[in-house]
């Protein structure tokens, strides 16, 4: 298994990628296992006792190297995240951050901090661990602390402690949900099997050994919580396009599916263009968020084809799948998830085939056009009172929203609106007493959230809007959504093996 995939990859790459890029960014499985044997010490020792034939230790280690490479390479580019490693608890910039996330092991070893260098925070993490285990010794658990405007939310997941410290006004439940996403992100890299085994074998293990190079995933995720409503909605955003074009793409995707393909998707930035799934499974929006988050976290994926093990926690949190990532346009990206670790070549070929067919069917121009006209403007809806809206289909777990227009083009205003949406969504989705209608008027805007048939609609108005006007606007919006339903949502996801 050593050198073969690399050769295959080199051989198979024909989509206009320069060969220089390849050697650094493509396929790591083989190359790394040759070079790095000496260095893998820690992880190897822990994991090599496993009877798992796919040897997740190597996979994780090689991927680690690979992301590290991506990171180095991508550094000059603008989308690379700056890690605030110079900050710490004694630094006023650190204490004034609005939202912190910390992850530590149950033994108190630091694993991740959103700001600052984890290793410099070890005493701080130790304190968190002490507090948590204090409660644990009473068969109790601390869930939330309120200190003035700050909320401290704690959660224990498997062998990990996750902590959020926030002054953003988000509720405990919302912060807890975000911690859940961060935990999923760790499983995405390690699987729950591997995570538990590591800590069963060695309680004191420093998990950063295995996660090094993937902090950017967690960073990107932590930032997305406050930029995209998809996380608290538990839904994904689709690229708006004509239903004819979408139909064409769908049928193209379902042609000639290779063996081992579990999920295939075509992404444009954070929008979903097309998806293909197995007959009996659907892709959970959380898993889709994680895949999309991975692709967006590193510009390394942009230069060539990547083959990397991933775990989709909602699909199966115990095993690795293998993701093929390839950009075929500046914003157009293929993500193919396979159950077979040796199917890089097949996936690559499948992608080429799809690209060829899309080109033949003149879909590429259509897609480019769709990408260019996204996100659409609120003006299109023709309801002048409406400042912004989100419509989520609860059955399809997809949502749509127009591009933020003033005043929401300013970062702070947008964050504030999202916080209100978040509160509305929490009220509508509450497990014990869910609301059917939510109206909120603040000094800056009025927000209506309501459940209509299979939709959740959230709409923002000026702060002085009358309720009659707001309801009229929502009715008009509903009509618009009905009319454009098949443009803004993917109504039917083709099934693998549906056509040949």
């Amino acid at each position: 298994m050593n050198a073969e995939p690399l050769e295959k990859a080199l051989f198979a790459t024909g989509t206009g990628v320069v060969e220089n890029d390849l050697s650094s960014s493509v396929p790591d499985v083989g190359v790394m296992s040759l070079q790095e044997e000496a260095n893998i010490a820690d992880a190897e020792q822990v994991l090599s006792r496993s009877e798992d034939p796919s040897r997740p230790d190597l996979i994780a280690e090689t991927r680690r190297r690979s992301f590290a490479n991506h990171k180095d390479e991508a550094r000059p580019k603008k989308d690379v995240l700056h890690r605030h490693t110079d900050e710490g608890p004694n630094n006023s910039r650190w204490t004034h951050r609005k939202k912190h996330f910390f992850i530590l092991s149950s033994a108190g070893k630091p694993i991740y901090s959103r700001y600052g260098d984890e290793s410099k925070l070890s005493s701080f993490m130790g304190l968190i661990q002490a507090i948590l285990s204090f409660f644990a010794s009473d068969d109790d658990s601390v869930r939330c602390l309120n200190a003035g405007s700050h909320k401290f939310v704690f959660t224990m997941k498997g062998p990990l402690y996750l902590v959020a410290v926030s002054s953003t006004g988000e509720s405990e439940a919302q912060l807890r949900q975000q911690l859940g996403y961060l935990y999923s992100q760790i499983l995405f890299i390690l699987t729950s099997t591997q995570l538990t085994r590591i800590f069963e074998t060695r309680v004191n293990y420093d998990l950063r050994n295995l996660l090094a190079g993937t902090e950017m995933f967690l960073d990107q995720l932590a930032r997305s919580f406050q930029q995209s409503p998809g996380f608290f909605l538990g839904a994904f955003q689709c690229l708006r396009m004509s239903s004819r074009l979408r139909q064409k793409i769908s049928s193209t995707l379902s042609m000639a599916n290779p063996q081992g393909l579990a999920f295939g998707m075509l992404l444009a930035k954070e929008h979903l263009i097309g998806l293909i799934r197995p007959k009996r499974y659907s892709l959970h929006p959380n898993d889709l968020h994680l895949l999309s988050n991975m692709v967006q976290s590193s510009s390394g994926f942009r230069s060539g084809e990547t083959w990397t093990p991933v775990c989709l926690p909602q699909f199966n949190n115990r095993a690795f799948l293998h993701a093929y990532v390839s950009f075929v346009g500046p914003d157009l990206c293929f993500v193919l998830v396979s159950t077979d670790k040796d199917s890089f070549f097949e996936m690559s070929q499948y992608k080429q085939e799809i690209v060829r067919r899309l080109e033949e069917g003149a879909c590429v121009d259509g897609i480019d056009e769709a990408i260019r006209s996204v996100p659409y403007s609120i003006v299109e809806i023709g309801v002048p009172q409406l400042r912004h809206f989100i419509c989520k289909s609860t059955t399809l777990v997809q949502y749509t929203q127009p591009t933020p227009s003033p005043p929401y083009t300013k970062k702070d205003d947008w964050k504030r609106l999202l916080t209100v949406y978040q509160r509305a969504s929490e009220a509508l989705q509450a497990r014990s007493d869910p609301m059917q209608m939510f109206f909120h008027a603040g000094t800056a805007e009025a927000v209506v959230g309501c459940v209509v048939a299979s939709y959740e609609i959230y709409a923002a108005f000026g702060p002085l809007v009358s309720k009659a006007t707001a309801m009229e606007a929502i009715n008009a919006l509903q009509k618009w959504i009905k009319r454009h339903e098949d443009h803004i949502f993917i109504n039917s996801v083709p099934v693998i093996g549906g056509k040949t």
């Binding site: 507090i131 059917q436 009358s466």
Partner: protein, 457 residues
């Protein structure tokens, strides 16, 4: 875990009051426990072991240090309780403590730290059992003052009586007049100063057991003033009992605080409280109740020039005669004023479930629970609580204050509307309704136009 929690109403596990600066600096291990005990001024339950105390106080100290990166250092743990309400209960207990004892620092200076510890323990042992942590609601959150509604002529009668009182007895410059638990006249500087005193006097627990202030002159176990409501659920002061009690014979008149027998010759023992918003000033307290209906509460500053008067028994006899004569007619005026206001508002009170509060003058008014038709289910009370919490939370953070919230429950089809305008908050509940947002808004408008037209737009 969540299941078992759900069915058990919240209760107080422990409450500790401590001051880390009291610790001695000795660092040896044996004294560590003792040191924790030194910081700790009060701990409930008092049966807790020293070890347990040290643990919890140590934890709280750690949490405070831990969260000091933030801004405030008020800490409490929350589960199914609303923060803002719980905090208000704690603050209230502290205000009550300061009313009687000025503050821990004061006791420490005038007496000793041991005394402070003892006083705290006595105080909280009496105070904590009064709070039902399972049924906290907006009444606990606001802790407001019930105002008597009076027509202008009655108000002038009250005003003239107060003026007469002040000129006849120059030492009584800050009289407070209550009709049942309704405030008729406030002679103190502001409502914030009045609040702890008002809360204490109208608390149905006051007078039930000996507390060192109030005379035990009523029937055993009977509160000083029984009419205040303590929860939105119970309607202790349903209108009928108020009216009925006015016609029952054999009612108590006399000093609740002051000499039990006004004819006493010799020095009178004075009871003291501490009043003031920033600086607590010591006041002597005199409380006279007329026929269980009207209560005159007069704090006299210790520094008052005419102070000598109130140490003589003869003064109290004069005051009692004066009050008996004048309150006889005033009681009827107040009862009539109350009855007419009640009739005026009866339709609204029976048909709307509302809660109004003004933080400027601490006034509140509610129909919730007063009639059979206005009783609320526990989940709606909870919904009101969390709405209030949102209003408070958003205001504390400062940017984007919330002016209005309306929610409709998908399960019970009830609407809950909350509005906030400046210092005022108004909540309305419409249970089981098929109205839309616009209809509800119309109903709210109708309500405010009819009953709050003078104060809300």
């Amino acid at each position: 875990m969540s299941n078992t929690w759900k069915h058990r109403p919240p209760c107080l596990v422990y409450l500790a009051i401590f001051n880390p600066s009291l610790a001695t600096t000795s660092r040896d291990r044996e004294s560590a426990l003792a040191a924790e005990d030194q910081i700790c001024l009060f701990y409930s339950p008092t049966t807790a072991s020293l070890d347990e105390k040290a643990r919890q106080v140590g934890l709280a100290t750690a949490l405070i240090n831990f969260t000091r990166g933030g801004h405030k250092v008020i800490e409490y743990l929350e589960d199914g309780l609303q923060n803002s309400i719980l905090r208000n209960v704690l603050i209230r207990s502290w205000e009550a403590f300061k009313l009687f004892h000025k503050g821990i620092e004061h006791i420490r200076k005038t007496q000793s730290i041991e005394a402070a510890r003892r006083v705290l323990e006595e105080f909280y042992a009496g105070f904590l059992p009064r709070i039902d942590f399972g049924t906290l609601d907006l009444l606990d959150a606001f802790d407001g003052i019930q105002f008597a509604s009076l027509p202008k002529t009655s108000y002038l009668q009250v005003s003239s009586l107060i003026q007469l009182l002040k000129s006849t007895f120059p030492v009584l410059q800050h009289p407070i007049l209550l009709w049942h638990d309704h405030l008729v006249w406030n002679g103190l500087a502001d409502f914030e100063t009045l609040k702890p005193l008002y809360t204490y006097m109208t608390d149905p627990e006051t007078g039930r057991v000996y507390d060192g202030i109030v005379n035990q002159v009523k029937h055993k176990g009977e509160p000083v003033i029984a009419t205040r409501r303590v929860s939105l659920k119970t309607a202790r002061s349903s209108g009928r009992t108020l009216l009925k009690s006015a016609r029952r014979g054999g009612k108590f008149s006399g000093y609740l605080v002051g000499p039990t027998n006004p004819g006493t010759v010799g020095a009178i023992e004075l009871k003291n409280v501490f009043l003031g918003t920033t600086d607590k000033v010591e006041h002597h307290l005199i409380v006279y109740q007329y026929e269980e209906e009207c209560t005159l509460v007069v704090p006299v500053p210790v520094s008052s020039p005419n102070k000598a008067d109130i140490t003589k028994g003869e003064f109290y006899a004069r005051l009692a005669t004066f009050l008996d004569n004048h309150l006889k007619t005033l009681v009827n005026v107040l009862a009539d004023g109350w009855a007419s206001a009640r009739n005026l508002g009866e339709f609204a009170d029976q048909h709307f479930r509302y809660f109004y509060y003004n933080s400027m003058n601490l006034a509140f008014k509610t129909s919730i629970g007063s009639y059979k038709s206005t009783v609320l289910t526990a989940d709606l009370v909870q919904c009101l609580n969390s709405m209030h919490d949102t209003f408070v939370g958003e205001t504390e953070r400062g940017h984007n204050a919330v002016n209005e919230m309306c929610v409709k429950s998908a399960v019970t089809d009830s609407w809950v509307v909350g509005r906030r305008s400046g210092s005022r908050e108004l909540y309305l509940v419409f249970p089981k309704s098929d109205m839309g947002l616009v209809d509800v808004d119309d109903e709210v408008k109708k309500f405010t136009m009819a009953y709050f037209s003078d104060i809300l737009q």
